[in-house]
Amino acid sequence: MCECCGGHATKKDFPQVDAILAKFKGVKGSLMPILQAIQGEYGYLPEDVMSYVAEEMDIPLSRIYGVATFYAQFHLKPRGANIIRICLGTACHVKGAGKVLSAFEEKLGIKGGETTPDLKFTLEPIACLGACGLAPVVMVNEDTYGKMSAKKVTEVLNNY
């Protein structure tokens, strides 16, 4: 039992996390795939889960925090049910991706990198989705929308 908070906190159980940890037991360099799997489960990396992982894997929480904040893929805050990824790569940039991003920001009332208060959408600018032939490109969850424009934004959002 943790004493730092007056003994109120009891150790939580995370059966899903146990399953993930068991899968990677003894695998070298498994911290990233473990975090990826946990994020797949929760949509983000909750703090209490990270503390649990640190204890179970016997590595400092600071190291997990270091890895989680280094890579763009990991998120420490809850994310929207739908992730809108807006490509701002070179090809998309010269074809007006900035205007597409602004249109999404205006429509959703949030800035790039933020999540709507109802947790429906997260707006995520991305360096390059590698689909330059379709620039400007937007991905919503697994769906790719090519040749985007500010005008198409409402139409895309209505699909979700």
Binding site: M32, Q73, T90, V94, A131, T144
Partner: protein
């Protein structure tokens, strides 16, 4: 599938597969690359299969292939043996395609053929298509012509024949072939692959003999997507290339480090590894020999710096992907301190052909010092966007005008950024430059991974340089000060210039900072980050000067430097801009009378410019 216990069994399997395939029968290849999937390739395939079933044509094969390269025209379809190339195919087109092209034995559906915007011609066949005519597809040879999830398809196309041949040679002989071929790393610096393998072979390590082979599939360079296309379109060839490398250097374990943003590539690689394990083309005692090679996939998590070899190995180990000082080189102490040979996707994929067809054949392609072919991802303001694999030594003009069809909408070619955020730009004066490692470097650009982003007169080169620096600055890992602080300061200066607050001396300061960052950064990211800025200053200094001294953006792209006015002749007084566009009430005007813009209130948002139906708003 049964495990192959010898080289002879592989040959027998190939004969068996070949005997079962009848190439005179129609076969439809639908591009299943990311671009075409986004354009509805899956739905088109499903519709086609349904139509074929309904007509009792169950023996017609429909194959989902890798990228055909002409991503902008997706979804793409090739009907063999007629070599008919269809663009923008939709589910509702399938009935007609089956009727005419399959039952009608090669009759075409004209609206689906490639209508070339440059020449105005219609092209039926891949071989005549101007996008493909000058290409020489070797690394990409199978992309678009094999089912990317079928090991049989790959084996039919001589797959693993190079590995079988190599297993009958000594590792030194394999390295010698790669050395003689002149193959150089396709990921950036162009280091001779054979030399790297030789260093890996000779590395002593810690005496345990453990060595690793790693493939860098962390294609983070914005505007480059050739590695993605290979991993999605011909994963088996990449695996064969890695196995050849592993045999040469004496590695028994390997990793493919793939960007997490490439889910389809990861899926196909996993399928391919599974098939190879089943057939004994990976794992212990490959083809019944003493050679064993275990291959795993490691998903990246979004960090551009992980393209650097020491950062990549530390990421595989589960740490922050930060580079370290070299030496020791990764060939001496890389992954878990063991000798590690690291090559990029396109490099590995080039090796099987070198072994199978011989180093002399490969060296005969390209130029003396830059042999072979290279894939370029041509994007931006060109008529034909896509992936083109060409022999080295082709001129910039041939790549951008003959293959990519030049700049659309009658606009003028301004520059092409070669090598992404680490590279530099080439201008009109470089159009006759042959594309090879040395010529590009001499002209201030780099080969890099082969990204070629074309811009026209509407692109501001200061803003363009700022875009790249903004990217590298954000991706700087923060370990060394020149890169972390220096790129930040350079970006601040560029932001200032684009905002109309540039000062006398800013250009010189950018040059000084840039040179300092290049000479003192720890890794390749920092050492190349200032390149886009320095090369745009070199070729477009007048644009920088116009921003700083005249407070003007010659390309009319930097908003704070624009002035908006209304052409009194063209304005019909429709009041659209007054009522629907201007957010600050800066436009005055009544119906049917020409409007005016109050420059003091205007926030330069450009909403009036976008909405005006008569092109009466002047942006300058």
């Amino acid at each position: 599938m049964e495990r192959l216990r010898s080289i002879e069994e592989l040959a027998a399997l190939r004969d068996k597969i070949r005997a079962s395939v009848d190439h005179s029968k129609p076969c439809v290849f639908i591009c299943g690359g990311t671009g075409c999937k986004a354009s509805g390739a899956d739905k088109a395939r499903d519709a086609l299969v349904k139509v074929l079933e309904a007509k009792g044509l169950n023996d017609i094969k429909v194959k989902m292939t890798g990228c055909h390269g002409f991503c902008e025209k997706g979804a793409l379809m090739i009907v063999e043996p007629y070599d008919i190339f269809y663009c923008h195919v939709q589910p509702e087109d399938m009935e007609e395609v089956v009727e005419k092209t399959i039952i009608g034995k090669g009759e075409t559906v004209e609206r689906l053929l490639y209508h070339d915007p440059v020449s105005g011609n219609i092209f039926t066949h891949v071989k005549d298509n101007p996008f493909y005519a000058k290409q020489q597809r070797t690394a990409l040879a199978n992309c678009g012509h094999v089912d990317a999830e079928s090991v049989e398809d790959y084996i039919e196309k001589d797959g693993y024949a190079a590995l079988a041949k190599a297993l009958q040679m000594t590792p030194e002989e394999v390295i010698e072939e790669v050395l003689k071929s002149g193959l150089r790393g396709r990921g950036g610096a162009g280091f001779p692959t054979g030399k790297k393998w030789e260093a890996g072979r000779n590395a002593k390590g810690d005496g345990t003999g453990k060595k690793y082979m790693v493939c860098n599939g962390d294609e983070g360079d914005p505007g480059a997507f050739m590695d993605r296309s290979i991993m999605e379109g011909d994963p088996y060839k990449l695996i064969e290339g890695m196995a050849l490398g592993a045999y040469s250097v004496g590695a028994d374990e390997g990793y493919i480090y793939v960007r997490a943003e490439y889910p389809l590539a990861i899926k196909r690689l996993k399928i391919a590894i599974g098939h190879c394990l089943e057939l004994g083309l990976l794992g212990d005692n490959i083809l019944g020999t003493d050679f064993s090679f275990h291959l795993k996939i490691k998903e990246g998590a979004g960090a551009f710096v992980c393209g650097e070899s020491t950062a990549l190995t530390s990421s595989i180990e589960g740490y922050r992907g930060m580079p370290r000082i070299r030496p020791p080189q990764t060939t001496d102490a890389g992954l878990w301190e063991k000798p590690t040979v690291l090559n990029n996707v396109e490099t590995f994929t080039s090796v099987p052909d070198i072994i199978l067809r011989g180093s002399a054949w490969y060296a005969s392609l390209g130029t003396e010092k830059s042999t072979g072919t290279k894939t370029f991802a041509i994007s931006g303001k060109v008529n034909r966007i896509g992936l083109a694999e060409v022999p080295m030594g082709l001129t910039v003009k041939e790549l951008i005008f003959d293959i990519a069809g030049g700049v659309p909408d009658g606009k003028e070619f301004k520059a092409v950024q070669m090598g992404g955020p680490s590279g530099g730009c080439l201008t009109k004066e470089h159009l006759d430059l042959p594309i090879d490692y040395e010529s590009l470097t001499k002209a201030g650009a780099i080969m890099g991974s082969g990204g070629a982003v074309v811009v026209d007169e509407d692109t501001c080169m200061v803003d363009f340089a700022r875009f790249f620096l903004d990217f590298t600055q954000r991706e700087s890992c923060g370990k060394c000060i020149p890169c972390r602080e220096g790129t930040k300061r350079m970006l601040e200066i560029l932001n200032r210039i684009c905002a109309g607050e540039g000062r006398d001396g800013d250009i010189e300061l950018l040059e000084e900072l840039g040179k300092m960052i290049i000479s003192s950064s720890l890794c390749g990211l920092g050492k190349t980050a200032p390149n886009p800025v320095l090369s745009t200053i070199q070729h477009f200094r007048h644009e920088y000067e116009a921003h700083i001294y005249d407070k003007k953006c010659p390309a009319a792209a930097c908003q704070p430097l624009l002035t908006f006015s209304i052409d009194q002749e063209k304005c019909k007084g429709c009041t659209k801009c007054v009522k629907k566009a201007c957010p600050v009430g800066a436009i005055q005007g009544e119906a049917k009378k020409a409007h005016t813009i109050d420059d003091k209130r205007c926030v330069k948002c450009g909403a009036c410019f976008d909405i005006c139906p008569f092109d009466a708003v002047i942006k300058a």
